[in-house]
């Protein structure tokens, strides 16, 4: 078996794909697993113990040659591209897992002729589609982020049915990396007994950066509190941020911009007590080498989705009403300074505690942390990453639905048929119990039972709409397959299609009016837009199955909500 895993976005994304690679290895111990990555992800792929081959994808030269308006260079670009495609083809991969959401990657894979693709692909008629239920979930979850409780690593991992109960990130360090880190510490008079802090000031976008001034204040607090030895890490291009920091806190840190390779950075992080960072690739490296991470989540960063993977990390974010979409505009420059240094110091303490098992008990809301939320990471009983609230607070509607959706997707997305749904209640219950225990009652503008009823009605109504759709699709299928004889079958078929379109519009509207139902509406719509092929019978059958899946999901959600409410009643009454 020859497997290709394609991840041609950024270095951090390659690390986040590493659990998937390990899951593939567990399923196929003898397989040849190759990873196709950009140059910036090459080392990460090379340091994965389950990767047999690294293929470097480079489109930079092609891009420059295409823009050159030079015929010879265009020909060169074409030939080099053709050669690359042929080289991939010659490797005779049996399956490719494409975790890159891009049309270009889908086109490339289609050109290589790999027979099976999971992820972004082109249909036979050249349309951009995604293959795989978890893949569809991945691409639709960004539109309903407030209800997504799953980290990207877990979503990727589920591209195959996971059998690893203790998943983690993979980035192997070598002795020479560690030797370099030791030498670096010695050169800066830092011993292993010192409290070593790394700070990542930069981020891929300005909107994701906590203010440098805050980092500088935090540095002073860390030195005061822990006598910390602080290193500023990042690429050479971020050195200007380091300069700004040094002006605000002279002598507080040692800038290391451009002084380490990625693996040397990993070694440094491995012997550090904590990394304080924005949402960056460095964060993932730290998580991979088990360095506790304190993530300052600002802008449109959603820590649940892209936060540090593994146990013993902490995320802090400013309390917000809505999460919004991943392309949300920056709320305003002041969000980057709203989270103050004392609050992040508290988060650092949590990360340090989380390293040794987690905070003994949750904090009671206090004035210092009044406007922020703190979370620490654990692997939940369902073997996926979870962010547990550090500050005890009431459960919100969003929490309720997020838990429900999490449980539902984990049960449903691997099933081929509704009847395949895993009905093992014990793991689900344990998981839900653990989550619910973190909350202090239910805080909403309507009481819990009433909200439950609202959700139930919404899901039930959606289920009914979906049932209507399933029935229409079934009737369409019967006409197309000849099972039902009709005087004018094509006219009848067109009418059914028209009715289905109207029904889809009803469902869309239902999703708008009942936000709790929106993820289901979106994913069903996405799957219908993703239909491939031209055979009307196949299309009708698939459409029917999509509606049936929606029915199952609605039913599952209602069942899970019942469980949650029951558990909440017990938990909140007891407290």
């Amino acid at each position: 078996m020859r497997i290709l895993v394609v991840q041609i976005t950024r270095m951090g994304d390659v690390i986040q794909t590493s659990p998937l690679v390990h899951a593939l290895r567990l399923h196929h111990p003898e397989a040849h697993i190759a990873m196709m990555v950009r140059k910036m992800g090459k080392l990460v792929a090379e340091r994965h113990p389950d990767v047999d081959e690294v293929i470097v994808y480079n489109e930079d030269n092609m891009f420059i040659d295409l823009r050159s308006r030079d015929s010879d260079r265009l020909l060169k670009a074409y030939r080099e591209t053709e050669q690359f495609i042929d080289s991939l083809k010659a490797k005779r991969f049996d399956v490719a897992y494409n975790t890159t959401n891009s049309l270009a990657s889908a086109m490339l894979l289609r050109l290589t002729g790999i027979p099976e693709i999971v992820g972004a692909d082109l249909s036979d008629d050249g349309c951009f589609i995604r293959r795989g239920r978890w893949v569809n979930y991945f691409f639709t979850s960004v539109f309903c982020r407030e209800y997504n409780d799953l980290n990207l690593c877990d979503i990727f991992r589920h591209f195959v049915r996971p059998i690893d109960s203790k998943p983690s990130l993979y980035f192997t360090l070598h002795d020479e990396d560690r030797a370099h880190a030791s030498a670096l510490l010695r050169a800066n008079d830092v011993t292993e007994n010192d409290f070593i802090v790394c700070m990542q000031l930069g981020a891929s976008e300005d909107s994701k950066r906590w203010a440098v001034s805050r980092y500088a204040e935090l540095a002073r607090l860390l030195i005061e509190t822990y006598k910390a030895k602080i290193f500023l890490v990042g690429v050479q291009e971020e050195a200007c941020l380091g300069n700004e920091f040094m002006q605000l806190a002279p002598g507080a840190a040692v800038p290391l911009y451009g002084h380490t390779t990625l693996s040397q950075l990993g070694a440094l992080l491995e012997c550090s007590d904590v990394l304080i960072t924005n949402d960056t690739g460095t964060m993932h490296v730290a998580a991979a080498v088990k360095c506790p991470v304190t993530l300052v989540s600002v802008g449109h960063v959603h820590y649940r989705e892209t936060g540090p993977y593994g146990e013993g990390h902490c995320a802090i974010e400013y309390k917000r009403e809505f999460l919004g979409q991943s392309d949300l505009k920056v709320r305003g420059a002041d969000e980057h300074t709203r989270i103050n240094s004392e609050q992040v110091l508290a988060a650092v303490r949590v990360a340090l505690m989380a390293k040794s098992g987690g905070p003994e008990k949750q904090m009671i809301d206090n004035t210092t942390l009044a406007n922020v939320d703190l979370y620490y990471t654990r692997m939940a009983p369902d073997s996926c990453l979870a962010f547990y609230p550090v500050i005890r607070r009431p459960m919100h509607k969003r929490d309720l639905l997020r838990l429900a959706y999490r449980a539902m997707w984990l049960r449903f997305l691997h099933c081929k048929e509704a009847s395949d749904v895993d009905h093992d209640q014990s793991k689900v219950l344990r998981c839900l119990q653990e989550f619910i225990m973190q909350f202090d009652g239910f805080d909403a503008d309507e009481p819990l039972h009433e909200y439950h009823k609202t959700c139930e009605e919404g899901f039930t109504a959606l289920g009914e709409l979906a049932a209507e759709g399933a029935e229409l699709a079934r009737q369409l299928l019967d006409i197309l397959s000849g099972k039902t004889v009709h005087a004018r079958p094509m006219t009848a078929a067109r009418d059914y299609v028209e009715n289905l379109m109207q029904l889809d519009e009803k469902m869309r509207l239902h999703g708008e009016l009942h936000p709790a139902c929106k993820p289901l509406v979106l994913i069903a719509r996405f799957e219908r837009d993703n239909l491939e092929g031209a055979d009307p019978i196949d299309l009708a059958r698939t459409t029917r199955d999509i509606y049936r899946a929606t029915i199952t999901c609605c039913s599952l959600l209602n069942a899970i909500l019942d469980q949650i409410i029951s558990l909440c009643e017990t938990a909140f009454t007891d407290t």
Binding site: E59, M62, F63, L66, R67, S68, R69, D70, S71, D72, R73, L74, L75, K76, A77, Y78, T81, E82, I85, S102, L103, A104, M107, L108, R110, L111, L122, D125, G126, C127
Partner: protein, 597 residues
């Protein structure tokens, strides 16, 4: 030019241009001394050569023409660095020593197969091997000692190489036009001419700005405010022109007279390696702004030879050339009038143009003939008694009809200093060529230089006074055969010798001769058509199969091919699918770049 090894024993190498001295080096690597100048380091010429090569900014895709072989150290260093190399050595004796050193040296990077030329540089122009090498547009590297010892030789080889390399290559040329005025149509003709020569042309058309500019100017009473606004508008238009030119990234930018560009426009373009030229199609005596701008351009073209050229030299303009206006046979050609048009345009004598004082003065004396005038500012009571005046602007179509309908087309160059014929006139107007190309018979005033372009007896007869004009009008009206023959001969002359294509090529020849080395150094975008690419490729090729389905004259660039690449994958051939993939990569990357900027 031949392989270095093939020069062994050639009698040419026995010619000692001057004394060349063999100097033993400190570490066993010899060098040569010519006229007191060491060609290489005495200590470590191999290391010196490697350092020299590594400091050059050479394109990896282009071969290198090295001026100055010396003892071959630089040749070897270039070969080591992976470049295809050919050499020219000014001094045959040096070459002889180079062969001697190579023979006695082991483990040398093999440079015996490197093509080398020596001797008279003029012989290189017709040398097939040199031509073939020049065709590859090599980077030119001059050995420092050679540049010092033989500067004239180096300059000559540079000029020859530039011309051979660049002639026939498709250049990117931007032409910046004026908002309004006589040079506007000329700008358009020049654009067409360069396109017909096969170059990629961008016309920076500013005429759309004219209505706003005119409205703005007329709406303000205050001269001071009007001037301020005018300057602001000119600055804006200059920036707009600059932006358009820079996006196009041409090899050459030609600015037309009256184009709204600032004096810094040229400097900014030159910083980006763009050659600049100006075509001053005006009378230098009437519009003196040329003094300020001529020295700023790499090439300054004008339409008045003689005194003006001396003036340009004095003003510090070192590269100027006389390039006359002309005609565009695609636009200026004979037309046939309809019956209705006959009644409008048919006449014995016509004039088309603006009513300058000297013209009104002369034409008032043309009485008793069927005389029609087209143009603006012809308000004169006496004239209107003798001529039918069609006051107003006219377009090119009308102009051709006027030429077709008139038995005699008058041409009289405008003058602000003389009534009637200006005996000092030396700025030929485009009308001379346009009427001839349109097939019209023309009587013209004797503008200095006219005789260089047309035979003033048999093709375009001239008149020097009103009397002479009246006499010739009468004669030619009664001698139809002679009139038709003269028109025919002038027409032939115009379309064969005086087209804008010929003018455009003259401009390019001048620029390549004088500045080709800069283009060579910068490197050209090589642009071939689909047909040319198909011809150059192996026929058994999926790319060729796809390209054969496209129009052969489409340029083989990504921009030009994009309309032919289906965005959907259905029905793609492999080649098209690869292009679709590359297009998607580019579009996505550009969208990311746009977001960041």
């Amino acid at each position: 030019m031949k392989m270095l090894e093939a020069w062994r024993g050639d009698p040419l190498l026995n010619e000692m241009l001057e004394s060349v001295e063999w100097v033993e080096g400190r570490k066993g690597f010899p060098t040569l001394r010519v006229r007191g100048v060491l060609l290489h380091s005495q200590y470590n010429p191999v290391e010196e050569a490697r350092r020299f090569v590594s400091g050059l900014e050479l394109s990896a895709e282009r071969p290198v023409l090295l001026l100055g072989v010396g003892l071959g150290y630089h040749v070897a260093a270039l070969r080591e660095a992976g470049y295809e190399v050919a050499c020219v050595e000014p001094n045959p004796a040096v070459l002889r020593y180079a062969l001697e050193r190579i023979s006695n040296t082991e483990s040398e990077t093999d440079i015996t197969k490197v093509p080398v030329a020596t001797g008279d540089p003029d012989d290189l122009q017709s040398d097939a091997l040199f031509q073939a090498f020049a065709e590859k547009m090599p980077s030119l590297v001059v050995h420092p000692a050679t540049a010092q010892l033989y500067p004239v030789y180096v300059e000559k080889i540079t000029g020859i190489l530039s011309q051979l390399s660049l002639t026939g290559k498709r250049l990117h040329i931007a032409i910046v036009g004026p908002m309004y005025g006589g040079s506007l149509p000329i700008a358009r003709y020049l654009v067409r001419a360069f396109e017909q020569l096969g170059h990629q042309v961008l016309f920076v058309d500013n005429c759309k700005a004219w209505p706003l500019y005119e409205t703005m100017s007329k709406s303000i009473q205050s001269k001071r405010v009007g001037k301020q606004l005018s300057e602001l508008a000119s600055h804006f238009l200059s920036e707009w022109s600059y932006a358009r030119v820079m996006e196009f990234a041409p090899d050459l930018c030609i600015t037309m007279a009256q184009a709204p560009v600032s004096n810094t426009f040229t400097a900014r373009l030159r910083q980006s390696g763009i050659l600049t030229a100006f075509w001053y199609v005006e009378n230098w005596r009437h519009f003196p702004y040329w003094k300020d701008i001529a020295p700023l351009y790499d090439a300054f073209f004008h339409i008045q030879p003689g005194v003006f050229e001396e003036q340009l030299d004095v003003a510090g303009c070192t590269h100027h050339a006389f390039i006359q206006t002309g005609c565009d046979p695609g636009i200026h050609h004979p037309v046939t009038l309809t019956e209705k048009e006959e009644s409008v345009y048919r006449c014995d004598v016509s004039f088309a143009g603006a009513g300058y004082t000297n013209r009104i003065a002369l034409f008032k004396g043309l009485t008793g003939i069927d005389f029609k005038i087209w143009g603006v500012n012809w308000v004169d009571r006496d004239l209107s008694r003798n001529a039918t005046i069609h006051e107003g602007w006219f377009d090119t179509d009308t102009y051709l009809k006027i030429a077709a309908g008139s038995k005699i087309n008058l041409n009289l160059h405008s003058s602000a200093h003389h009534y009637g014929v200006d005996p000092t006139c030396d700025a030929l107007n485009p009308r001379v060529f346009e009427i001839a190309a349109a097939g019209g018979f023309q009587l013209c005033d004797p503008c200095i230089g006219l005789e260089q372009y047309f035979d003033t007896e048999t093709e375009i007869p001239v008149y020097r006074s009103l009397d002479e004009l009246r006499e010739k009008i009468n004669w030619y009206l009664s001698h139809e055969d002679e009139r038709i023959e003269a028109a025919r001969l002038a027409h032939e002359r115009a379309i064969n010798e005086h087209t804008y294509i010929a003018r455009a090529q003259s401009m390019l020849d001048f620029i390549l001769r004088n500045h080709g080395d800069k283009l060579l150094k910068k490197g050209l975008r090589i642009q071939k058509t689909v047909g040319e690419v198909v011809d150059s490729l192996d026929t058994d090729n999926t790319l060729v199969t796809w390209l054969k389905g496209l129009p052969s004259n489409v340029l083989f660039t990504h921009e030009a091919l994009k309309p032919y690449i289906q965005s959907s994958g259905f029905g793609h051939t492999r080649a098209e699918a690869i292009f679709a993939y590359m297009t998607e990569v580019r579009q996505f990357s550009e969208s990311l770049l746009k977001d960041r900027l």
